[in-house]
């Protein structure tokens, strides 16, 4: 296991929530999982009718409708509720936050940096849908959850935001944005779901001494 870390900034050492987990895959390609570390993320809230134009100017892409995502270059915008978007940056979020803050300064809105709040699990493969379906009551069928769909979801006892980036002959590609403290639990739950298709079992971190 890669027990340390990835990224350093000015001598500081960062550690991602799943730094102790290596990417895993089923031997026959049924599914694969890996942590996408240190993506920039922020929450944008506002009335789309009022901030839409300015947001589009800053992000380069129109705010998507609830439950859908939009991609422009290295930025992905997930509409997670009627007045809320989760913006994912393939790198630090500062630039996008600053650009957006500048454009929205006169309008009622909220921007909250959540780059370190969530980490991202990339789940892909022909069995990816089946694996998620086991642990969610939401319908994950290809007719019901189409590429470009996203939203908050309950997976077992964790509530990540998931996004379906694509679904082609190689299977579906999901990004699962999960709170730091739930990441290890969810990683193991999803891996367990894929056990019957050859994904290696993952044991949750455990063994802490408890005082009663």
């Amino acid at each position: 296991m890669a027990d340390t870390v990835a990224d350093t900034v000015a001598g500081a050492t960062r550690r991602s929530p799943l730094a102790h987990r290596d990417a895993i895959a089923a031997a026959d390609g049924a599914a694969a999982m890996a942590e996408r570390r240190f993506l920039g993320k922020f929450v944008l809230r506002g009335d789309a009718a009022k901030i839409g134009t300015a947001a589009k100017a800053a992000l380069g892409v129109a705010l998507p409708e609830n439950g859908r995502l939009a991609i422009k270059g290295k930025t992905m915008v997930l509409a997670t509720s009627p007045d809320e978007w989760l913006v994912i940056c393939d790198g630090p979020a500062e630039a996008a936050i600053n650009a957006l803050s500048g454009k929205l300064s006169k309008l009622h809105h909220q921007i909250a940096d959540v780059s370190d709040y969530y980490t991202t699990i990339r789940l892909s493969g022909p069995r990816a849908r089946d694996m998620l379906q086991k642990i969610t009551t939401r319908d994950m069928h290809r007719r019901e959850f189409t590429p470009g769909a996203c939203g908050g979801i309950l997976l077992a006892h964790a509530n990540p935001v998931i996004a379906l980036l694509s679904d082609d002959s190689g299977g579906a590609v999901f990004d699962i944005h999960i709170r730091w403290s739930f990441a290890d639990y969810l990683w193991c739950e999803i891996a367990h779901s894929g056990g019957e298709w050859g994904l290696p079992r993952q044991t949750p971190l455990h063994g802490e001494r408890l005082v009663v």
């Binding site: 007045d83 921007i111 370190d116 009551t137 069928h141 019901e144």
Partner: protein, 1006 residues
């Protein structure tokens, strides 16, 4: 007894694969595809179990899940499963099964003495002991528990793995007989997503229980057709065909629970390690087709429970499905046409049929002629009044019967098998669970689906149509209808052309109970074979006044247990109706409840057990806590470091050391778990003014304020410090456990109560890792680590905050204190949390920095008299009760809970109020939760209680015990002596004080 009752050919078992197993210590060999029951019958063995109450011998009665009593226990040690139906469990190499509820052996069971003393264990025995004089149930229970009951529960954790999963579909079809297969095919061809579940291992339903060649569909043998349809379905992308899968529960909004027996039929060596033993499917179906077939009824007559008495349809089933002839010399007893087929089947298979006894006086001429041709003696207008044979039936006694009275002489007919049919009940369990309304049908003398409530429809025998062509047509129609209702285009397919040479008529004449002419105490006519309910018990219930069918059920236990009265309930209704002198529809039915048959708890829990039971939330610094020997405390979902005992140090000693260090030198706490909410918008101040009790209008950027949050009832629900980042931007903190609840509640207020306020909220709890440095040396330590902040007390005073950097990484430092000490909470983006923590520790080394856990934190805050919401409060404490009136600004126009603080009850002076308690003996630490009383001696109960201890610790800094308590009129009692009661010891004298023990005790920093 041992015989070979396996026919030369026939059945859908795999005769090339012999399989060995043991039951009751005896080795059996069957074929792959056999059940325990079919393999035992093949060997000529009938005795399987002992009944629940009287320990009467029980044999195989049915063919599958309808069997009432053929329960066995499989496995051994931890890997043991009780109440397994021998008629369902497929055999596999290495299978070991044991009889249940018998001692010392199945053939000789001491518990059978209950049978001898049956007159002293009448119906209603349990009911009366429950309801009887005090202690009567207590007295009887140990004996009853030992004597009655079914299997034994395993005593250690279940080593098997299970899965509990979700699924969606457009059309769920339950049952893969001719109707279900037709329905699934029609729906799937329309493009619908279909789940087809079948309880047994193979598709075809009753098609595999009739003479091969006696039926044909589209010109092919019926089973070939069935397998062809299954193959077509299995090849379709959006169809899931689940065999060995029972729909056990129909719930609201078309949620149907399925239990799939994934590996029960496999020997241990062939079970795939990555697949569960069983799996529960929670299926949300747009539409449902119930093709669950029909269940045959027993007849109720004296001596009807001997091993060897079987349902006629089951006898035919064993013959054709397994190639097993259950008896070589059979008697058939019926009130309808269907059992005649069994007689003909037995004869055709080379068996001898000693008689067909039919309660009807007129039988269709075609049947009479066929029986005569087969050389089977016919006794129409006759009934069985007695049977003989201890562990297996030897003979029956018959007399003339006109539907009510017996006539003529008794006549004994020898036999080793009695095939009985009392008619067929459409299997309406799921339909009734779905809230569908049943309707009585005189034609079949049973209940069938009437009005649907949810999106479902029944087809085939489940709908009361017992013909092959009708089932095929009805199934296709239902499948197409379901697909249409789910939004697809489908017209009812043309039903495949079907031919059946089997008897498909019923012509039933009810005979709910056959008299015997015996004295009452010798008339043992069983209705419920599992719970040992006799017809006389049901009549007793009516005589005792239990006239409602639900009450009669509870009085007699009719229809309870693992079988839920599948073959017996309608007979019971018939007997009750006759006793009450009303028609059966007026009696009604007992409620059909989930589950249809027992479901293992393990399967319901699924994979969410053990280490996967719940998320264990941990902070970015968790790894360090583990490395440094922390013991942990569960706080909500979180695991927080509670103390860091050093080698040779006890937990208590560690807490004392940490507490002392934090107040006298420097302490470091992982405070990352506190809830954090970003509050943004023009009206943020107004919003805070409404949600907190104090004023927020004047808080300037760069400053923080503590706030109390109340419920509408005026009671404290949360507290925390909120910082003003800008006029329209605040950083709110909540308690660790309250984070999610508070955000939900505040969002609710914004969306529903105050939509006019321009405020947005976003949780940022885990964006930040928090290293909280406190104590006299805190500033020196923080100064070494953080750049860009002037830590001068004037520039960054208590309740101020500032932004700075640590090695270029931005941080925000709050001067917030939960200890009463000078304190700096350094917030850093979480991925840097561990790095910063270690950096602070390194910098603090020269300053005696000591990491402390939540227990020391509790002691420190208690020394200062700070409350913990949820410990000092319990949903009944107002701010005034906590002596925190200073934080309530009643002059504000409104805040949540304000009005309630003016109610007569909340302004009472004698409410329970938070006070400090100091024991006479400074070394004595009170027990948290202990009651506070007024007298030095504890009076006889009921003891007048003044309140209870909420927090209690030994304070190393004050070198004495300290405690907080809520006490009636506590504020007025300061200085008084009260007492804290103890179990088994005299109450402890205490002095009532204020809660700031540092001030009370005159603590000065050394």
């Amino acid at each position: 007894m041992s015989a070979n009752n396996r026919l030369e050919s026939g059945g859908i078992v795999d005769r090339t694969r012999p399989v060995g197993f043991t039951f009751a210590g005896k080795h059996y060999t069957g074929f792959a595809g056999d059940t325990i029951a079919s393999a035992m019958l093949a060997a000529g063995d009938m005795l399987v179990a002992r009944s629940f109450k009287y320990h009467r011998p029980r044999g195989v009665t049915g063919l599958g899940s309808e069997d009432p009593a053929a329960l066995v226990q499989t496995g051994a040690g931890d890997v043991t499963i009780p109440n397994v139906l021998a008629t369902e469990q497929e055999i596999h190499d290495g299978l070991v099964a044991h009889p249940q509820n018998c001692f010392p052996a199945l053939g000789f069971d001491i518990g059978a003495l209950n049978d001898v003393f049956a007159r002293f264990l009448p119906a209603g025995f349990y009911y009366k002991t429950f309801m009887g004089p005090p202690l009567s149930w207590m007295r009887f229970e140990p004996f009853i528990r030992a004597a009655a009951g079914l299997g034994k529960a395993p005593e250690s954790p279940d080593p098997d793995a299970y899965e509990s999963v979700n699924a969606h579909c457009d059309v769920l079809v339950v049952g893969a007989g001719p109707a279900g297969l037709s329905a699934a095919l029609a729906a799937a061809r329309a493009g619908a997503r279909v789940i087809l579940c079948e309880e047994t291992a193979t598709v075809g339903g009753r098609l595999s229980a009739v003479t091969p060649g006696s039926t044909s569909i589209t010109g092919r043998a019926a089973m070939d057709w069935a397998n062809g349809v299954a193959a077509e379905l299995a090849a379709m992308e959006d169809v899931r065909l689940l065999t060995r899968t029972t729909a056990f529960g129909y719930y609201g909004e078309n949620l149907v629970g399925l239990i799939e027996r994934v590996a029960d039929h496999l020997p241990a060596g062939l079970r795939e390690p990555d697949r569960p033993r069983q799996r529960v499917w929670r299926v949300r179906a747009s539409q449902v087709v119930l093709a669950t077939g029909a269940i045959e009824r027993l007849m109720v007559f004296n001596g009807n429970d001997r091993p060897g008495v079987m349902l006629a349809g089951a006898v035919s089933g064993y013959l054709h499905r397994y190639g097993v002839i259950a008896g070589r010399n059979a008697v058939v007893f019926t009130n309808n046409d269907s059992a005649w087929q069994t007689a003909f089947d037995l004869k055709a298979a080379g068996g001898h049929v000693a008689a067909i006894v039919d309660t009807r006086r007129s039988v269709a001429p075609g049947l009479l002629a066929a029986a005569a041709e087969a050389g089977i003696p016919i006794h129409a207008g006759s009934a069985i009044v007695d049977t003989d044979g201890r562990l297996r039936i030897k003979s029956v006694t018959i007399r003339g019967f006109d539907g009510t009275a017996l006539s003529g002489p008794e006549r004994v007919i020898e036999c080793d098998l009695l095939a009985v049919s009392g008619g067929w009940n459409p299997n309406v369990a799921l339909f009734a669970q779905s809230r569908g309304k049943l309707r009585w049908d005189d034609g079949i003398q049973s209940f069938r689906p009437g009005m649907s409530w949810q999106g479902e429809r029944s087809a085939g025998a489940a709908d009361g149509d017992f013909t092959l062509s009708g089932s095929l047509a009805g199934g296709g129609r239902a499948g197409a209808e379901a697909a249409r209702a789910a939004g697809f285009t489908a017209s009812a397919p043309r039903a495949p052309k079907a031919q059946s040479a089997n008897i498909e008529t019923l012509a039933i004449e009810p005979a709910w109970e056959i008299p015997s002419g015996r004295p009452a105490h010798r008339h043992k006519a069983f209705v419920d074979l599992q719970d040992d309910v006799k017809s006389s018990d049901l009549k007793l219930a009516v005589r005792e006044g239990y006239r409602s069918v639900e009450h009669a059920k509870r009085f007699t236990t009719q229809g309870m247990g693992t079988d839920q009265g599948k073959i017996s309930n309608v007979n019971a209704f018939g007997i009750l109706a006759r006793q009450l002198g009303v028609a059966i529809p007026e009696v009604g039915v007992t409620t059909f409840r989930q589950p249809f048959k027992p479901v293992t708890f393990g399967a319901l829990g699924g994979q969410h057990v053990g280490l996967n039971f719940m998320p264990r939330r941990t902070t970015p610094m968790h790894e360090w806590h583990r490395r440094n020997n922390a013991t942990f405390e569960p706080v909500g979902d979180w695991l927080r470091a509670r103390a860091y005992p050093k080698a040779g140090e006890s937990f208590h000693e560690a807490v004392q050391r940490e507490t002392r260090a934090a107040r006298t030198a420097c302490g470091l706490l992982d405070a990352s778990t506190l809830g954090k909410i970003d509050v943004r918008g023009r009206d943020a101040r107004e919003f805070l003014d409404r949600v907190y009790t104090n004023g927020w209008k004047k808080l300037v950027p760069g400053r923080c304020r503590y706030g109390l949050m109340l419920g509408e009832d005026g009671m404290v629900i949360d507290d925390g410090v909120t910082a003003c980042i800008a006029d329209d931007h605040f950083h709110m903190t909540t308690t660790t456990g309250g984070a999610a609840r508070v955000l939900t509640q505040l969002e609710d207020y914004l969306q529903t109560e105050w939509p006019d306020l321009e405020v947005y909220l976003t949780s940022t709890t885990e964006q930040w890792a928090v290293s909280a440095v406190c104590g006299p040396n805190a500033r020196a330590v923080v100064g070494q680590v953080v750049s860009g902040i002037d830590l001068d007390e004037e520039k960054l005073p208590f309740m101020g905050f500032a932004d700075g950097t640590v090695d270029g990484v931005p941080v925000r430092v709050f001067r917030i204190s939960f200890t009463g000490e000078s304190s700096y909470e350094i917030n850093i983006p979480a991925t840097y949390g561990l790095w910063l923590w270690e950096k602070v520790l390194a910098a603090g080394k020269a300053h005696g920095i000591t990491p402390y856990g939540t227990e020391a934190m509790h002691v420190l805050r208690a020394e200062k008299g700070f409350i913990i919401v949820g410990q000092e409060t319990d949903g009944t404490m107002t701010p005034f009760d906590l002596s925190m009136g200073w934080i309530v600004n009643m002059k504000k126009p409104d805040f949540i809970g304000r009005r309630s603080l003016m109610r007569a009850d909340t302004v009472r002076e004698d409410r329970k109020q938070l006070v400090g308690l100091l024991t006479e003996d400074p070394a004595f630490v009170l027990m948290e939760g202990a009651h506070v009383i007024e007298t030095a001696e504890e009076p006889a109960p009921p003891v007048p209680m003044l309140g209870h201890v909420t927090s209690s610790y030994f304070s190393p800094n004050l070198n004495r015990s300290i405690a907080m308590a809520v006490v009636k009129a506590g504020n007025a009692r300061k200085g008084e002596m009260l007492y804290v009661s103890r179990a088994g010891a005299p109450p402890v004298p205490v002095t009532v004080t204020g809660t700031d023990f540092l001030a009370e005790g005159g603590f000065v920093h050394g």
